[in-house]
């Protein structure tokens, strides 16, 4: 994994004190981070932590209540046209017409962009060529996910936001997808990876933030975070430590079961 040098050059994404509420509910409280061009940046967190709202603000789909967001140097609210051309988004729930074919969807989305990818090449890259004439609703979850990735990349974006990328995939497909993400990054695309899979974050991310209850509770490279926690710890341990599950292997069983009781409070 290439090492990252924080602060080297202009960030491609900059978020400062982002805040977004829905009435009384605070989805994002105070989130700040920056992403360097060409890195794979992870956004980790439990459900309801504010990850999806944060990336939706980046993609210009939600208006922040407070704070500044700059993507490719512009405010997504001020220049949505720039964001739409150069930021590709892969949503968690991929949604297309039931009876649209894979090929038709790729061609349709390609037509919106100024310099789209070649459809045949893109389908080949994602091993979708033999499925290209199937209706979207007839595809398995894993295939639907690959179509969703294809649509995020068809515009040859500068930034790709991938939200829960490998949820429906079997282990072999997950590995293939990880390698694909690396190839995408190697081609110069900055990748924002929203995930709750620790192994994925550990394998792919150059740097990451952990968001809990709408705030950033940890930031850095996977290596920095694990070595800060202790020798031999994994990213999963880091995650659990920062999101309120301090399970210590050496304590007595009563304390351990107290911690398990706390699990009920998690959304």
């Amino acid at each position: 994994m290439p090492t990252s040098v924080p602060g080297s050059g202009q960030p491609i994404i900059e978020v400062r004190n982002l805040r977004k509420t829905y009435g009384p509910k605070v989805a994002v409280d105070d989130v700040s981070f920056s992403v360097q061009p060409g890195e794979i940046f992870g956004i980790l967190g439990t459900n309801g932590a504010g990850k999806s709202t944060t990336v939706e603000c980046l993609a210009g789909l939600r208006t922040p209540d407070h704070g500044t967001v700059r993507v490719l140097g512009v405010d997504p609210q001020a220049r949505p046209d720039v964001i739409r051309q150069h930021v590709g988004v892969q949503f968690q729930e991929s949604a297309l017409h039931d009876k649209i074919t894979v090929r038709e969807a790729v061609n349709l989305f390609a037509s919106y962009y100024d310099e789209p990818a070649d459809a045949d090449q893109l389908l080949r890259l994602l091993s979708l060529t033999k499925h290209q004439d199937k209706h979207f609703a007839a595809l398995s979850g894993g295939l639907k996910q690959r179509v969703s990735i294809a649509l995020a990349l068809v515009g040859r974006p500068k930034v790709a936001i991938l939200d829960e990328l490998t949820t429906a995939l079997d282990p072999a497909a997950r590995r293939q997808t990880w390698e694909l993400v690396k190839r995408v990054r190697d081609a110069g695309v900055t990748v924002l990876l929203v995930t709750h899979f620790m192994d994925e974050a550990e394998y792919l991310c150059d740097r990451l933030v952990i968001i809990d209850a709408g705030v950033v509770v940890a930031a850095g490279t996977p290596r920095e975070l694990t070595s800060a926690l202790g020798e031999g710890t994994s990213l999963e341990d880091v995650f659990l430590a920062h999101t309120g599950f301090a399970y210590d292997a050496g304590t007595d069983t009563d304390a351990a079961s107290d911690d398990l009781d706390d699990l009920d409070d998690v959304a």
């Binding site: 349709l108 037509s111 100024d114 995408v184 190697d186």
Partner: protein, 279 residues
């Protein structure tokens, strides 16, 4: 896949870029080209859902042939009054045309959009350069094409079976029909823009449909009583029906009704654009 001609040391970037994405073209497609791709795709997908096709195309023809078949009196020619020289079937035609322009506009279109919204199709599009006006425009176009086709089929069949009499002023009838289609679809786009839920869309659509038919005098045989007819002139479908009737059986140009439809359209279209929600 290595060849002996390759240099001994290869930088990682070179080999991976070869396997990633090269542009298909440089430079954007023109707006008409983009719109044509959208309409063609949406139309193809629309046609694959046999239930929507089956519920839109046959209705006008079924009404125009069916109602007079049940009600034989309609086939007699009026000898006096406003409709002298025309049969009851002729008098029924503007009502059928009014109905046929309304159902796709205020029921099918908003329900389809609510379905797209519910499924997340619109949200997926919102992150791309595609604009909501384009999506609305494409579906209006598809539904207008089906509306006109269904009406044409009904008229041809009606003429073959009953022998329809030409309107007094064909130009006025055609112009009024076109204005009616435009204003009813303008109304439909407002509903499509704001009604989020598919079952709400179906319910609201049905209410608007029936209210429109009442204003067009379709529900009351012999048309609306005078007082109500005066009010109905200012309601979109009421104006359309009266304008078509004037052109068919009358001798003037229904200037007021045409102006009413123009004003409604000028108000409704920007409203739809402004109120449109992706999700």
């Amino acid at each position: 896949m290595t060849t002996t001609a390759r240099p001994a040391v290869r930088s990682p970037k070179q080999s991976t870029t070869q396997r990633t994405l090269t542009p298909a073209r440089s430079g954007r497609l023109s707006a008409p080209r983009r719109f044509a791709t959208l309409v063609a795709t949406e139309a193809r997908v629309w046609l694959r859902d046999i239930s929507t096709v089956a519920t839109t195309l046959p209705f006008p023809i079924a009404f125009l042939l069916g109602i007079p078949a049940i009600n034989e009196d309609m086939r007699h020619t009026f000898t006096e009054g406003v409709f002298a020289g025309f049969t009851g079937v002729d008098v029924f035609v503007p009502a059928v045309l009014a109905m046929s322009m309304t159902a796709p506009a205020v029921m099918a279109l908003p329900t389809a959009f609510a379905g797209f919204r519910d499924k997340g199709v619109l949200r997926r599009m919102s992150a791309t350069p595609l604009r909501p006006q384009a999506m609305l425009g494409a579906h209006v176009l598809i539904n207008v094409a089906v509306t006109v086709l269904a009406a044409a089929l009904a008229l041809v069949a009606g003429h073959l079976v009953f022998g329809l009499t030409m309107p007094n002023d064909l130009a006025v009838v055609v112009g009024s029909y076109a204005a009616g289609v435009v204003v009813m679809f303008a109304l439909g786009t407002v509903l499509a823009a704001v009604v989020k839920n598919p079952s709400h869309a179906a319910g609201v659509g049905m209410l608007v449909f029936f209210a429109s038919l009442v204003s067009a005098g379709v529900m009351t045989p012999g048309g609306l009583p005078d007082g109500l007819a005066q009010v109905a002139r200012f309601i979109p479908l009421g104006a359309a029906a009266q304008a078509m009737q004037e052109g068919w059986f009358g001798d003037g140009v229904p200037v007021l009704q045409l102006a009413v439809m123009a004003v409604w359209t000028a108000v409704l279209v920007p409203t739809a654009a402004k109120l449109f929600r992706w999700s």
